[in-house]
């Protein structure tokens, strides 16, 4: 196994353990066992536990961002699709889809906690959020440029979207009885549509069941 592969395997093991047990419970010895390497080898690559945990979180989000954000807004917009459809897809990609990207979302929540307590991690979280907002902003601006969205404040709409994704995504992840992925998408679509001058249904996925009338 190359040094790069060993390092990646250790980081992957750390991600798994953070997701399963919470970042505070992760010990280097357990990461070593999971990665099937010695504790001293883990120390060879990561001098401190903090360094290992930060490295694991960064790797996880880099992979997720690569997959999700790609290069630019063009990535979410399929040939022939409207900008509203592209935004609907972006909304879908940002919310936890229980089972598929749940792991990534758990790490996201662990990052919040870690960065809230440890100022040294804040440049990392700031960078991740900047990229996240920038990606959404590019989706909004592309729609404005094409004359499909109408807003004078695309930055504010992007900030609004990220706030809703985090707040509603958290509830979906925690399996709040009042919130599932579909419902979260409806709330987000209803909040963003008037900001962009489009209809709520345009921001929902195709072939969606009618909106329920009960709210709780």
């Amino acid at each position: 196994m190359s040094a790069e592969q060993t390092r990646a395997r250790i980081l992957e093991a750390a991600c798994e353990l953070i997701s399963e047990e919470g970042i505070d419970e992760v010990r280097i010895a357990r990461v070593a066992t999971r990665a099937r390497v010695s504790t001293s080898l883990v120390h060879h690559y990561f001098s401190t536990r903090e360094e290992l945990l930060t490295g694991a979180l960064m790797l996880s989000f880099d992979l997720a961002a690569e997959e999700r954000f790609g290069s630019d807004a063009g990535r979410v917009r399929l040939d022939g699709s409207t900008h509203a459809e592209a935004l609907a897809l972006a909304i879908e990609q940002c919310l936890p889809d229980l089972g598929a990207n749940e792991h990534e979302w758990v790490l996201w929540v662990e990052l919040w906690l870690r960065a809230a307590r440890d100022p040294e991690l804040r440049p990392v979280s700031a960078q991740l959020y900047e990229r996240y907002r920038g990606w959404l902003l590019s989706v909004m601006e592309a729609g404005v440029e094409a004359g499909e969205f109408r807003t004078d404040y695309p930055e504010r709409v992007a900030d609004l979207a990220v706030g809703l994704f985090d707040g509603l995504g958290l509830r979906v992840l925690l399996r709040d009885p009042g919130m599932d992925t579909h419902r979260a998408r409806q709330v987000i679509a209803a909040a963003l549509a008037p900001e962009l001058g489009v209809q709520t249904r345009e921001l929902m996925p195709a072939a969606t069941p009618p909106e329920p009338t009960a709210t709780r």
């Binding site: 047990e21 919470g22 970042i23 505070d24 419970e25 758990v106 929540v109 662990e110 919040w112 906690l113 960065a115 809230a116 307590r117 100022p119 804040r122 979280s125 700031a126 959020y129 900047e130 907002r133 504010r156 900030d159 609004l160 990220v162 706030g163 809703l164 994704f165 985090d166 707040g167 509603l168 995504g169 958290l170 509830r171 992840l173 925690l174 399996r175 709040d176 009885p177 009042g178 919130m179 709330v187 209803a190 909040a191 008037p194 900001e195 709210t215 709780r216």
Partner: protein, 206 residues
Amino acid sequence: MSPRPNIDHIRRPQILAAAAEVIAERGIAATRVADVAGRAGTSTSAVLYWFGSKEELLAEALMWEDDLFYADVTERLAEGYSPAERLALLIEAASLGGGWTLWMELWSRALRDPQAAEARENGDLRWREAIAEVVRDGCESGDFEEVDPDQVALTLSALLDGLAVQVTLGDSEVTAARMNQIGRTMAERLVSCQVPESPSRWLAPA
């Protein structure tokens, strides 16, 4: 157990305040009961007398902070403001809220611990009800358009939670003032009524 001096009840709030501070700084896993006792200027046994475990200490400290938040907000809401002003006050209070780190601790624990999940849900319901009550009043007085208060509370509370993450992490773009502004803009859309700057004006317009 040795007899307990009867002034101990005075220490309970001090212990909770100390626990809230220490847990927010270090996280529950790295917090020792002795650290909380030291910060509160009391003994480990006094802490353990009131709180059987660290988990209990976290839940109680959070509730204590939450109670302070509501006591503060309720006091200011009682001053005869319009529903729109009251909504602005709630949004501003959430934007300034200092207790978000403990909430994040609870969110993380709620992923794995059913008791923490229940505490999180109860806290969330309490917050949503505080918002819904103002919206209900606004609908009744005719200030707000007829809307579903619970629906408005759900959307607004989720938005504020989400924005609070970035504010707590010291984001340079999403600051408390920005959160306040985005929250008010969303509230205006939700209730179809202009939501003014909060009457307390702690946060300058972004």
